[in-house]
């Protein structure tokens, strides 16, 4: 049966987090990896790389998308020297499924960091996140509230959209309830009622208002005219309407108001709601439209000029995807085949920036063109309306306004003949209309004064205002009533939604209870009390807010687990929960990624976790990083030789990245540095340390037990002393080398060249040169060459316990080590 599950085949980091120079982890032969390193040496960057690859937005949870609050933003994804060294920050991955290998690369810079297809497919295999971070385990049980715990559980199981649904429903219910209980609109209507009734009626009251209308408004006109209800079809209202119309005609008000309306449509001076005097009307609308037309026209001309270089819109659009983020890099220009490096821009990034710049110019031009087209339409519209309104006023005016009529006709001709530029002058006609309006208002006022307050028209106007308020109030009450019904329906539907979500999550928890307890027992021992995961019922005030309660004892239901659990138990609960979810649900990609999960465990528990991984996750691909050397050793004990690769980060080189114990510095690497005119001091130091460590291990030299604060590393001088002592005890004397003072072991032992990165001189604060480095390197190689089997020429030795002198480890000659005399310049290679 062919393998249907997906595994990581390789993971490559370059310019990403702690890794400046490219580093590839090859999982093709050994599927699982354990990395030991002290804190701050770059081990978590490996897990970061996978989190970054799988993330929706191409970031890390702790970095966020932007630098805000405690987030560093995506800029922190890239190594700080990546740009300077021209290294593209990226993470690449190969995923294998059966015989099929798919690869993908995700850039860690640029605004768009699209997720490659291979990662999308891999992500689709995970029901729950395969990454477990030690720092998240503690807070899950110890400090998270039950609600936060539920949210985090949902996120682990990729059910966070359901948490979002519940959160949004809560917010929506709250807003609907607020709207149901909101009385501000009713208060506003009450205030208007009080104002319209001259404070006779303070708040809305149908009876009081009808009494006010009948007794105060209508009675002085006709005591028999009485409204029975607030309605424009009430018989008394219809009678009032008819009488008001007759009255207006009798006194000439209707004609005056008609002229007033026609004139104010052209120009008027009014006071707005804020108490400010404003001018409005069709004449001003047309003038404003003409001004805007000129402005947009100028802008269009300006943008057209700017965009003239960008005329090849179709070309830019076609070229953009070829150079955008995530596109397969092209080596030559797709049109003229010029190598990218030889183009004017010189690089894909520069070409892409150039394309974007031109596309932006085109976009600005398109926008200006659109605005200009809108301005033309608006001007035409305003002009048409104005031309239609001018004759209306002329038709209503009599002969005493002959001058105004003539002015309007002249103005109309100007508007008709206008085609562009400033609108025809309107000062004269506006002044005439202003005078006309003043006269009309005075005439209306005079008639109204003669009529007094009690006219049918005024009575109708007052009643109309109150009926309008009543209509508005009915609508407000109706909306509140309907919202009340919707709120109840929403409550029922929210309960149903919550019930279904609860059912889904509970079914998950049911599936997890057994494996969680199994894993918890494996870590904590057979006496571990079983864990219960529960979603307590929601109460009315806490609807759609599920919470996850972790409980160990019947009588501890209200106590936070941190109140009675040890640190180790707290970790174990959260670890068991996440491991159980991976075991239970991630069948299509059995991968576990553990970042520093051991912080609060004693030796037994550490051993148990290593054992758990060996037994419970036997067929899984596991990537572990840890700063705990004992845990690392237990992992080697429990899992060594079963498809695992164990490695250590020995140092973090700020100009390179993490240095791994299995990373060897070759002679070629040292010489390549000099060929570039660069110092090889760091490389030489590492090469010497690697050699010393290897030879000391092969010889089985005696080394002091390391101090606790440096538990993970050997001092160079310590190794040099141990090797020197060993050679003395074994009576193996280093032969003197002509021309070389054989300073290698001696100088290291004495600590004379401990400041190795900068010089090789006796003066500890002097500056060295490449020449000094070369001299020193020859010394080292000469010394190294003396440790070669005289019989077979191999350089690996071993020393079984019963032997005092190491023997050749080639497996055939088993010749005893004899230190050889070498000739300077013919030293061997690593």
């Amino acid at each position: 049966m062919s393998e249907s599950r997906s595994f990581l085949r390789s993971l490559s980091l370059s310019g990403f987090r702690a890794y400046l120079h490219p580093k590839t982890f090859d999982f093709s032969k050994q599927r699982s990896l354990a990395v030991f390193a002290p804190n701050g040496k770059g081990k978590s960057s490996i897990v970061d790389a996978i989190e970054f690859l799988l993330s929706k937005d191409g970031t890390l949870e702790r970095l966020g998308l932007r630098a805000v609050n405690n987030n560093a933003g995506v800029v922190a994804l890239a190594h700080n020297l990546a740009d300077e060294k021209n290294i593209e920050p990226a993470v690449a991955i190969e995923v294998v499924r059966g015989a099929v290998v798919e690869s993908g690369k995700r850039l860690a810079i640029a605004a768009k960091r699209p997720i490659p297809e291979a990662i999308v497919k891999l992500k689709g295999c995970f029901v729950t996140t395969p990454i477990i971070r030690g720092h998240a385990l503690r807070s899950f049980v110890e400090t998270d509230t039950p609600q936060e715990r539920y949210s985090r559980l949902a996120a682990w199981l990729q059910l966070d959209p359901l948490v979002e649904v519940q959160k949004n429903i809560r917010a929506l219910r709250s807003q609907v309830n607020s709207a149901v209980n909101d009385v501000s609109l009713l208060h506003r209507i009450d205030a208007l009622v009080a104002k319209k009734t001259d404070q006779n009626v303070g708040i809305w009251d149908d009876v009081a208002l009808l009494n006010y209308i009948n007794n105060i408004i209508l009675s002085p006109l006709d005591s028999k005219l009485m409204l029975a209800r607030f309605s424009k079809i009430d018989s008394a209202y219809l009678e009032l309407e008819a009488r008001a119309e007759i009255e207006e005609k009798e006194v000439g008000l209707a004609g005056l108001r008609q002229i007033l309306k026609a004139a104010t449509s052209l120009w008027a001076k009014v006071v707005n709601d804020d108490g400010q005097v404003v001018f409005r009307g069709l004449i001003l609308d047309f003038e404003a439209a003409a001004v805007n037309l000129e402005s947009t026209k100028s802008k269009e001309v300006e943008e057209r000029k700017k965009a003239s270089d960008s005329a090849f819109e179709a070309l830019w659009k076609a070229a953009e995807p070829l150079f955008s983020d995530g596109a397969v890099p092209v080596k030559t220009c797709p049109i003229c085949n010029t190598p990218i490096s030889e183009t004017v821009s010189g690089s894909i990034g520069e070409i892409y920036a150039y394309i974007l710049q031109n596309m932006a110019k085109l976009a600005d031009y398109a926008k200006a063109k659109n605005e200009f087209a809108k301005a033309i339409a608006a001007t035409n519209d305003a002009r048409s309306k104005l031309l239609a309104a001018l004759p209306v006023l002329v038709g209503l005016l009599d002969d005493k306004d002959a001058v105004l009529k003539s002015d309007i006709d002249t103005y109309k001709s100007d508007v008709l003949s206008w085609s562009k530029g400033e609108a025809p002058a309107s000062g004269k006609i506006v002044a005439s209309i202003g005078k006309l309006l003043g006269r009309l208002n005075r005439d209306i006022e005079k008639i109204e004064d003669k009529q007094g307050d009690h006219t049918y028209a005024k009575a109708k106007l007052k009643i109309d205002h109150l009926i309008e308020l009543q209509t508005e109030r009915e609508l407000v009450l109706g909306v509140k009533r309907e919202l009340g019904g919707i709120s109840r329906a929403l409550s029922e539907q929210a309960t149903m939604i919550s019930t279904e979500i609860r059912r889904k999550v509970e079914s998950l928890l049911d599936k997890l209870q057994s494996p969680i307890n199994e894993i918890f027992r494996l870590i904590q021992g057979d006496s571990a009390v079983p864990i219960r995961l529960e979603l307590p019922p929601e109460d009315e005030t806490n609807q759609q807010r599920l919470s996850l309660v972790i409980d160990f004892a019947e009588n501890r239901t209200s106590v936070q687990p941190s109140g009675y659990l040890s640190d180790s138990q707290i970790h174990s609960v959260a670890l068991a929960l996440q491991l159980a979810a991976i075991k239970q649900f991630n069948h299509d990609a059995p991968i576990v990624i553990l970042d520093d999960i051991v912080t609060s465990y004693d030796a037994d528990h550490r051993r148990n976790i290593a054992k758990l991984l060996a037994i419970y996750f036997g067929g899984y691909q596991i990537l572990i990083t840890t700063h705990d050397e004992r845990f690392f050793c237990y992992l080697i004990d429990q899992l060594g030789g079963r498809g695992w690769h164990f490695t250590r980060i020995t140092a973090l080189d700020p100009t390179y990245g993490p240095r791994f114990a299995d990373h060897k510095v070759s002679d070629e690497m040292v010489e390549a540095r000099w060929a570039e005119g660069l110092s090889a001091a760091n490389e030489m130091r590492q090469a010497e340390e690697e050699w010393l460590l290897g030879i000391c291990r092969d010889f089985g030299v005696s080394v002091r037990i390391r101090p606790l604060d440096r538990a993970y590393s050997y001092e160079r001088s310590e190794l040099a002393s141990a090797l020197a002592c060993f050679l003395n005890d074994a009576k193996l004397t280093q032969p003197s080398v002509p021309g070389v003072a054989n300073r290698f072991l001696n100088t290291i032992q004495k600590g004379e060249i401990e400041n190795f990165g900068s010089h090789f001189q006796d003066n500890p604060h002097g500056y060295g040169s490449i020449g000094d480095e070369k001299a020193r390197w020859e010394e080292f190689k000469t010394f190294r060459k003396s440790f070669v089997c005289k019989k077979c020429g191999k350089s690996r030795f071993k020393r079984p316990n019963n032997l005092k002198i190491p023997v050749c480890a080639c497996g055939t000659c088993e010749a005893q080590l004899e230190l050889c005399v070498n000739v300077v310049g013919s030293a061997g290679t690593v």
């Binding site: 959209p161 359901l162 649904v165 929506l172 909306v479 309907e482 939604i497 279904e500």
Partner: protein, 75 residues
């Protein structure tokens, strides 16, 4: 993205949930439509609650206006 280790995705779950709400005889169908189109989404809009509230207010207003209009017709 799958939930529960079954073939049902979260998106499928929400779609099924919306259909099941709509299928209830006594459900407020227009309200369900608003919930389906705004809330029951895997990637809701940032202002989803404001948008849903706006639609609910429009629904309540339209219903209230219909009732008022109906009352006036009967008069």
């Amino acid at each position: 993205m799958e939930g529960q280790g079954s073939s049902e995705t979260v998106e499928d779950f929400l779609v099924t949930l919306g259909e099941s709400l709509r299928g209830k005889d006594d459900a407020d169908k227009e309200l369900v439509k608003i919930l389906k189109e705004n809330i029951l989404k895997v990637s809701p809009a940032r202002d989803v609650v404001a948008q849903a509230m706006k639609e609910i207010l429009a629904l309540a207003t339209s219903r209230a206006e219909s009732i008022i209009e109906e009352g006036m017709t009967h008069e």
